[in-house]
């Protein structure tokens, strides 16, 4: 019984991290319609920015990390994706370019900080582990779940209630018409990349606090985020959240009687099942 509680807690934590990755991925996918693989390295950048500012208090280093991820996302759009889009590059070309960006940035981080893992400063040093119905979790885990909730609700509010969000919806819906009616789609894309990348940054920092940071941390985060986005329904905010938690639960309960190494097999198995039987995802966004 305790085991079930613990698995449930683990699933929720994993689902929250995947939510954070899927939110930003879906946001940029919705607006640009291409698979931005560099999204994964935004998490790494944020984690390493916090590490770089280790000597500073956390209320400086954490916002700096989130901002750095957002800024890199913005700059990538301005300098690479936007010029490619102007030249009518296909989404496949953009995907390959983003893979290149991912690899290059990951290597740069490894060059600067070594490819070994590092620890971020202690965040909740004095807070003990919580116990709930026989399962346990830490304050960081609580922060992960809270951050996912805040980011999902915040993004929802941004999209639904602000004119900025309305413009993003318009561009996601019909970019051609958006341009013709005078929405500055290019500038908007840059801002979308900022927001999406910043949310990925939040995920990277939290993972760093929970475990360690390592230059190759971006890929597993990216892949889980993408799986969550696909099984939830590409481009759909709440679909991504649903997909993330479904993935978290299936992954954690799937390894109940077997070794943890099977997690990824289960995750990709789930993805393949969806691609075959429900390629449009749980919440279809037509």
């Amino acid at each position: 019984m305790d085991f079930v509680v613990q698995l449930t807690i683990n699933s929720i934590i994993a689902g929250s991290i995947y939510t954070l990755m899927a939110l930003g991925f879906n946001l940029t996918y919705g607006a640009t319609k291409f698979f931005n693989l560099a999204h994964g390295v935004m998490a790494t950048i944020a984690g390493y920015t916090v590490f770089y500012f280790s000597s500073q208090p956390l209320y400086i280093s954490i916002p700096a990390g989130i901002f750095a991820a957002g800024l890199v996302g913005y700059v990538l759009d301005r300098t690479i994706y936007s010029p490619l889009r102007k030249r009518k590059a296909s989404n496949m070309v953009l995907l390959v370019a983003s893979l290149g960006v991912f690899t290059a940035l990951e290597s740069l981080i490894a060059l600067k900080f070594s490819s070994q893992h590092q620890s971020l400063p202690e965040i909740f040093a004095s807070v003990p582990t919580f116990n709930l119905f026989g399962g346990s979790f830490t304050a960081i885990h609580l922060l992960i779940v809270a951050s996912a909730a805040v980011c999902a609700l915040g993004l929802h509010a941004l999209l639904k209630y602000t004119l900025f969000g309305k413009a993003i919806n318009a561009v996601s819906d019909d970019e051609e018409v958006s341009k013709i009616v005078g929405i500055n789609t290019n500038r908007l894309m840059g801002q979308v990349f900022f927001v999406g990348s910043a949310i990925a940054g939040v995920a990277g920092i939290l993972v760093g606090f929970d475990t360690v940071i390592i230059p190759i941390m971006g890929m597993p985060l990216l892949l889980k985020g993408i799986i969550a986005a696909i099984i939830g329904g590409l481009g759909s905010l709440w679909g991504g959240v649903l997909g993330a938690f479904l993935l978290g639960f299936v992954e954690n309960f799937g390894i109940w009687h077997i070794s943890g190494e099977w997690k990824d097999v289960i995750a990709f198995g789930l993805l393949i099942l969806f691609l075959i039987f429900r390629p449009q995802g749980i919440l279809k966004k037509s």
């Binding site: 602000t162 004119l163 900025f164 919806n169 318009a170 819906d173 013709i180 005078g182």
Partner: protein, 242 residues
């Protein structure tokens, strides 16, 4: 503001959708463009509004001449349009479809939840004109086809540009909607706007247009006053030969 094309060309893999077309569209009148299906009417305004790049020739807007028009430049060139197969923002409410155009686009001001009172007033005025005020909070995807067409007309009004291109705005509308939109077109005309109306219904053409341009296979077939042009033998043949 006048709109001219000079030897304008657009082809799709050997199909000359617009073939060395030179026409002039004057402000303050409604210019009808007609021609059989596939004669290149929609392609013409797609080229003018930057949807398709120009393959040859030029477009003159006012006193300036262009050999390429990009989509995002279209509003700056004082051009707005509707689409033959309606293209509104389906996942947004009727109101938001207009506010997203009316609102200023700077990040900080656009983070506000509400549009300014002026923008809201303007949206209300436009929605009342096109008869969609009651529907302001419905998602555009929930509207009937005719209502979505009305919303597109509303978008044209909200944009308030000098050159207004309408691609079969009446198709799929009920008679009272047709009346409403006819009135709107005549109103725009009185304001001195440049208006292009692509339309198949000859009665509406006669009623609304001051001048007509007939296209056939991408070329100019005839132009002039509606009564005269519609009586021309080659025009009648082009339509019968469809």
């Amino acid at each position: 503001m006048s709109l001219k094309t000079k030897n304008l060309e657009k082809h799709f893999d050997g199909v000359h959708a617009v073939d060395h077309l030179s026409i002039e569209i004057k402000p303050g009148v409604i210019t009808g463009i007609l021609g059989p299906n596939g004669s290149g009417k929609t392609t013409l305004i797609n080229v003018i509004s930057g949807i398709h790049p120009i393959d040859g020739g030029e477009i003159a807007i006012g006193s300036q001449t262009f050999s390429s028009i990009k989509r995002h430049e279209v509003p700056d060139f004082d051009i707005t349009r509707t689409f033959q197969n309606v293209r509104v923002f389906e996942q947004m409410t009727v109101m938001d479809n207009l506010l997203v155009i009316l609102s200023s686009r700077s990040v900080l001001t656009s983070l506000r939840q509400r549009a300014t009172p002026k923008q809201l007033d303007r949206a209300q005025e436009v929605l009342k004109k096109v008869g969609l005020w009651e529907k302001r909070n419905s998602l555009a995807s929930k509207l009937s086809y005719g209502q979505r067409k009305l919303l597109e007309v509303g978008r044209v009004l909200a944009m308030d540009k000098k050159i207004n291109l309408f691609d079969e705005p009446f198709a799929g509308m009920f008679p009272e909607m047709v009346k409403r939109v006819s009135g709107i077109l005549q109103n725009l005309k009185q304001c001195g706007k440049t208006i292009v109306l692509i339309e198949h219904n000859m009665q509406l053409i006669r009623e609304l247009c001051d001048y007509v341009i007939v296209m056939d296979a991408g070329k100019l077939l005839a132009q002039g006053e509606p009564e005269k042009v519609l009586a021309q033998k080659n025009v009648i043949e082009a339509y019968l030969g469809e």
